[in-house]
């Protein structure tokens, strides 16, 4: 295997991630047709790539994330360019070839991008992202505004100077998207489950109430109405659901509220919503009578009385 082959093999990863320009891609494909060693290397890497792709069928990396990754890659290349003379020193030229650095930077950047995206996409715990660093790239994979915690030295080999570190990197998240987007919706549902933050839950309910026609959103609002500790969140959920008070499951949730919510204001909002959307329903009248007969609020009892009267 000559030096050219090494370079071509470094490009295989980029080819599989569709990150090569037309000219380089053409040259590589030509070389793969002619060189058996590189062809084998390509097949081997493609097989691994396929396995990874099978495991991640829904990982559709958004275009802006790719743009950011490419920008990070370009920045890394710029840094390399600035230090080119240093690489060309004979002592370093074997270990720190530009292609190796490029490959490292590309893999690190893409690994980080994929890791951040997948961790946002999926609630399950993602496996730690393996990052490599060469002597010249100053931890390009760790964002400057990221915070490192629980850092541990796993291995340190004095003979080679290799050090393996493990820890957690967190960084601020800002995500734009439409409420129809799965990721946005998952993030909002996640906010609804934040037990320590009623403000975040309230805002999530406010946003989700804009599209209550979606079944999963309706379910989330019903959950908020029935289970949330905060009366403001429950009241906002009533407001979001009231136009659907004629639907069976929403009706059931309002009945639950009437029987169980200790806040008279929320019960009143529930009875108003139910009566406004279910005119002259004798079955509901009977259920309401049963559900509210012990209610200490005269408004609720009177409203039910009036509703029962209207059904006769």
């Amino acid at each position: 295997m000559n030096v050219n082959c090494k370079d071509y093999q470094h490009q295989i990863t980029l080819l599989l991630y569709n990150e090569l320009d037309e000219r380089t891609r053409g040259e590589l494909e030509l070389h793969l047709r002619e060189c058996g060693v590189c062809k084998d290397a390509f097949e081997s890497e493609r097989a691994m790539h396929s396995v990874l792709a099978e495991d991640t069928p829904s990982w559709d990396v958004p275009s802006d994330l790719l743009l950011e990754s490419r920008k990070a890659l370009a920045d890394a290349l710029d840094r390399m360019e600035n230090k080119r003379s240093w690489w060309r020193m004979p002592a370093f030229s074997v270990v720190f070839t530009p292609m190796r650095l490029l490959e490292s930077a590309a893999l690190i950047t893409m690994g980080l991008a994929l890791g951040v995206y997948v961790s946002n996409q999926q609630a399950r715990v993602a496996p730690p992202v393996a990052l490599n660093s060469s002597a010249n790239s100053q931890s390009p994979a760790i964002p400057r505004n990221g915070t490192i915690s629980n850092l541990q030295v796993i291995n340190a080999d004095p003979s080679t100077g290799q050090v393996e570190l493990a820890g957690e990197v967190s960084q601020p998240l800002r995500f734009h998207g439409k409420i129809e987007d799965d990721t946005v919706r998952q993030l909002l549902f996640s906010a609804l489950r934040d037990a320590n933050n009623p403000g975040s839950r309230l805002k999530a309910v406010e946003v989700l109430s804009q599209k209550p026609t979606d079944e999963s959103i309706e379910e989330a609002l019903i959950n908020a109405l029935v289970y949330d500790d905060d009366p403001g969140v429950r009241m906002r959920a009533v407001e979001g659901l009231k136009t659907f008070a004629n639907e069976q499951h929403v009706r059931a949730a309002f009945m639950h509220t009437l029987q169980n919510d200790e806040n008279a204001g929320i019960r009143i909002a529930a009875i108003d919503a139910l009566l406004a959307r279910n005119a002259k329903d004798p079955e509901l009248a009977q259920k309401l009578t049963e559900a509210t007969k012990k209610d200490d609020n005269p408004y609720i009892r009177t409203k039910v009385l009036q509703f029962v009267g209207s059904t006769k």
Partner: protein, 370 residues
């Protein structure tokens, strides 16, 4: 015997009620208090009446009304019928130079402009009122309260609904367990407890607490604000500020006096613009996860203590536009370099003075000149 008498009395009242288009016996003069005690029904009070009487009509045969004339008081009361079909609406016409004391056990209340004081209470239902020149107490167990300007003190309470009011000439007290509070200019002090957001355009001293939601106070003489989760913002606070939110930003665009602010997750921004540089201008700003940014007058005498507990990777932690005058010389520490930069800084401005503590567990601190 007593029951028989009561039945007789009710029958007589019923006959009286429906023998007339509307009850209107008692004279109403300026300052008279019109009292209504409705067991059920929505109350509609039209205050454009030109006759010195209060006319009242109820659009439901099941409801019986009694009118009582007293010195400076006219009272209408009704029974609570056992069964009701359809809605019950009370329509009352009165001159606006009256005081109103209205109670319905079940229904909404709608009142026009009133020159006197009002007390409006319902066990459930919305309450809307026009401009009220006197004092106002408006209470519902559930439902919206919406009022125009109130000349005197105001007390608005709802368990569930939103409270909306225009300007208030006196002090104000707002309580809603699950609703929002919105108010205009309030001449006096304000106490506001809400389940959701609180928004006040201008007030004297403000004490605002919400379980969840933003607190926004345009201009106030003094602010004490707490949110279980939401932003706290003020365009201008003319006196001291104390604020805490469990999650959200705190932003003071112009603070004239001392500031104590904390958030578990969110940024803090304070621009100190004091009228008097010799006053108490201490600051204690504590952010859990978030940045702290302060703008200080150049002539402020202050001792600044800034700490970033868990610094971000390779980012500058503490940025100051003021020349750093350390309170104590470095004791053998390596000066800042690419591998090490301090996450704690103590410095003096103009020889020191007001204690300014800036702390974030995770974020950066920025100190700028006004």
């Amino acid at each position: 015997m007593i029951r028989a008498l009561r039945t007789l009395r009710r029958s007589a009242l019923l006959a009286l009620a429906f023998s007339m288009p509307g009850l209107a016996k008692c004279p109403i003069s300026d300052g008279t208090t019109l009292v209504v005690r409705a067991a059920v029904g929505d109350l509609y009070v039209d205050t454009t009446g030109r006759e010195p009487v209060a006319e009242i009509q109820v659009e439901n045969n099941a409801v019986q009304i009694q009118e009582t004339c007293g010195k400076g008081v006219v009272e209408f009361t009704s029974n609570g019928p056992d069964s009701i079909r359809g809605t019950v609406a009370w329509r009352i016409v009165t001159p606006k130079a009256v005081n109103l004391d209205l109670v319905t056990m079940a229904g909404s209340i709608n009142v026009g402009d009133v020159d006197g004081d009002v007390v409006l209470r319902t066990a459930g239902g919305s309450v809307t009122a026009g401009h009220i020149k006197g004092k106002a107490a408006i209470i519902t167990q559930g439902g919206l309260i919406k009022s125009g300007n109130i000349g005197g003190d105001a007390e608005l309470r709802s368990q569930g609904g939103t409270l909306e009011v225009g300007d208030i000439g006196g002090n104000a007290e707002f309580h809603t367990t699950a609703g929002v509070i919105r108010a205009g200019n309030i001449a006096g002090s304000v106490t506001a407890d809400a389940g959701r957001a609180i928004s006040i355009i201008k007030a004297g001293e403000v004490k605002a607490t919400t379980n969840a939601g933003d607190i926004s106070i345009g201009d106030a003489a003094r602010i004490n604000a707490k949110s279980g989760g939401g932003n706290i913002t003020s365009r201008r606070v003319r006196g001291p500020f104390q604020g805490h939110t469990e999650s959200g930003d705190i932003r003071l665009d112009s603070a004239a006096s001392w500031v104590e602010a904390s958030t578990r997750a969110g940024n803090i921004f304070v621009r100190l613009v004091p009228d008097n540089l010799d006053g108490d201008l201490h600051m204690d700003l504590q952010a859990g996860v978030g940045d702290v940014t302060v703008y200080l007058p150049q002539r402020l005498r202050a001792s600044i203590d800034a700490t970033v507990q868990r610094p971000a990777f390779q980012a500058q932690q503490i940025i100051s536009e003021f020349p750093s005058v350390p309170t104590r010389p470095p004791q053998g520490l390596i000066p800042n370099n690419k591998f090490y930069s301090g996450t704690h800084s103590e410095s003096l401005l103009n020889g020191g003075g007001n204690k300014i503590v800036l702390h974030t567990a995770l974020g950066k601190i920025t100190i700028r000149k006004n």
